[in-house]
Symmetry: C2
Subunit: 358 residues, 2 copies
């Protein structure tokens, strides 16, 4: 038996409901694959603010550090929107990424055939789309200094943030991206704004040098504005995309939306060693929280990503992913992915259906 200690961060809104489903699913596949999960739970985001005054209590970070993987649901909500930004739920997320050194964020945007009609794009444009965005997550303008709001001599305020990447930061994420592309279609598109930004020129330079170590990978470069266009125009041209923190934030969301079902998309955030964090791409949906209406599938697929990328248990991950497809095949749907003629399920029943499929 393999033992794993998993930290659960249910967070806010629909978080607790959907993470429960993922835990049930993990328990079942644990039995099937002889994996023993020890779950421990901690506060993060709005829930942590309410209880402790800060979005990421030290205890929580410590518990995460001492675990094999972290399963996060979602944080945030209107309730905390007016707090100063360093005390908002999002600050907890940034603190977790920095605190665990999670420099690589993997965001798949894959069309699920059963849900293709939900895409706002034409079927022939998105059929077969399978993109992995590898986003740098602990550098760039999210963390660069100087940053802040400063007063000039004239008393006028200036807001300042700094986009900075060092060679080693670029190489580190570059390696993850080339390795990821190797396990996929063998194509990597590096996205930058090197026609304007020096930081992007260094980025393009280092990625290009690195490509000599990966002669089997077909590398291309694209400006971020062109990439935003091409995602809309012809998304099938992309296999793996690598880019910085801010561009990755924007492009991974655009790519996710091409699928039309953002309630289905998981993500993984990985460091060099130590636990990764696995979470759905969607938010905490406070408007439907506690109503048993949430779609737990992105959370369940995040648990599958945890097995695959965090715990190296890809057979168990496959099992979960296939069960999700099977449920969709049998026309069970939560409200967000509902369409005429399908069976509408709540969050809890969707979980039960999944368990049966397993």
């Amino acid at each position: 038996t393999q033992n794993y200690r998993i930290t659960l961060l249910p967070g806010d809104g629909i978080g607790p409901e959907i993470i429960n489903v993922a835990v049930d699913v993990l328990k079942i596949v644990g039995k099937q694959f002889d994996l023993q999960f020890e779950f421990q739970q901690a506060l993060m985001g709005g829930a942590a603010i309410d209880a402790t005054g800060v979005p990421l209590p030290d205890d929580t970070l410590e518990m995460c550090r001492n675990s094999d993987a972290v399963l996060l649901a979602a944080v945030g909500g209107y309730k905390w929107d007016s707090l100063p930004s360093n005390l908002r739920p999002e600050a907890g997320l940034l603190g977790l990424r920095a605190g665990l050194g999670l420099f690589a964020n993997l965001r798949p945007a894959k069309i699920i055939p059963q849900l293709i009609d939900a895409s706002t794009l034409k079927k022939e444009v998105v059929e077969g789309v399978d993109i992995m965005v590898v986003r740098e997550l602990t550098g760039g303008i999210y963390f660069g200094k100087p940053k802040g709001i400063f007063e000039t001599e004239t008393g006028e305020k200036r807001g300042v943030n700094t986009m900075v990447y060092s060679e080693s930061e670029i190489e580190r994420i570059g390696r993850v991206a080339f390795e990821t592309a190797r396990k996929r279609g063998g194509k990597l598109c590096s996205v930058d704004k090197s026609n304007v930004l020096e930081v992007s020129q260094l980025w393009r330079d280092r990625i290009t040098s690195l490509s000599q170590e990966y002669p089997d990978i077909e590398l291309s470069h694209m400006y971020v504005d062109a990439a935003a266009m091409q995602l809309v125009r012809a998304p099938k041209q992309f296999d793996t995309i690598v880019t910085g923190n801010l561009f990755g934030d924007i492009l991974s969301d655009a790519a996710a939306m091409l699928t039309g079902s953002i309630g289905m998309l998981p993500s993984a955030s990985l460091g060099d060693k130590g636990p990764g964090v696995f979470e759905p791409v969607h938010g905490s949906a406070p408007d439907i929280a506690g109503q048993d209406k949430a779609n737990p599938l992105a959370q369940v697929l995040s648990a599958a990503m945890m097995l695959r990328y965090g715990l190296n248990q890809s057979a168990a991950a496959d099992k979960i992913e296939n069960a999700v497809l099977q449920v969709l095949e049998s026309c069970d749907r939560t409200g967000d992915i509902m369409s005429p003629g399908m069976n509408l399920l709540g969050c809890h029943s969707m979980g039960k259906t999944l368990i049966q499929a397993l």
Copy 2:
């Protein structure tokens, strides 16, 4: 008779072909509306590099300054891609924006009913889309300092760019945006990343304060990642968008691509006073240059924007825009917007057809 001195910057690739068509069109409407255009031509971009070694010769900038408006075609091409970035065609563009103080970039993304099938999005999603992106163009990370590639003590290189906005810069573009929204649907969405960036917090703050002067405009705020999603998910929700230089670069291109016919989209770059620059959104298309295949309509519509926003001649602008629609209605198409059953025209013939329509 009203006299206008217009500087033409044909630039590279298809630039000279398409600007010729626009000049012919301007001459005709000039006669019709009693406007006298004096055209003067200057080098910019790759053409200027080849002739003088720099992408924006002083003479060119001077000539632009001394004119009532600048009509630019497109710059750039593979040929100059390996030059150092400060000597590339794009640097000429940035120099022109800074040199003329063109802080406001207006980029319409409007579905043309006759071309709606060219969109990769479903008809019901894009039907009626009419978005104006107001992008700040002389500030933000494009021009902020420090910038460059620096060596740290350990000999490692770091690339650095700075995103900076002052209160007055934000207010200045904010005013243009509120005024623009007022002339359109009365809705303004300000896009930032204030959950992470301090510069965006100042942005949101100032735009919010400014909105008190425009009580008739419905202001909303959106994070840039959400905006990239929402443009794909439900573009009709947007009327006018205001955002910074980098976010505007990305979102205006994404919005443009929703229409499916980027060969049709013009743009305007305006300063406080002094001449504006009017140019198509598309590039210089070196692959089809000199083959009489280019679509001149975005250039022609840029001339219309010049009349409307640069010279305050909206009747003449209307005339041109209607002529373009009429040509499309009669099924004439260049290659880029061709579809079965339509008449394929070259750049030159498309110009002649337009003249007839006028």
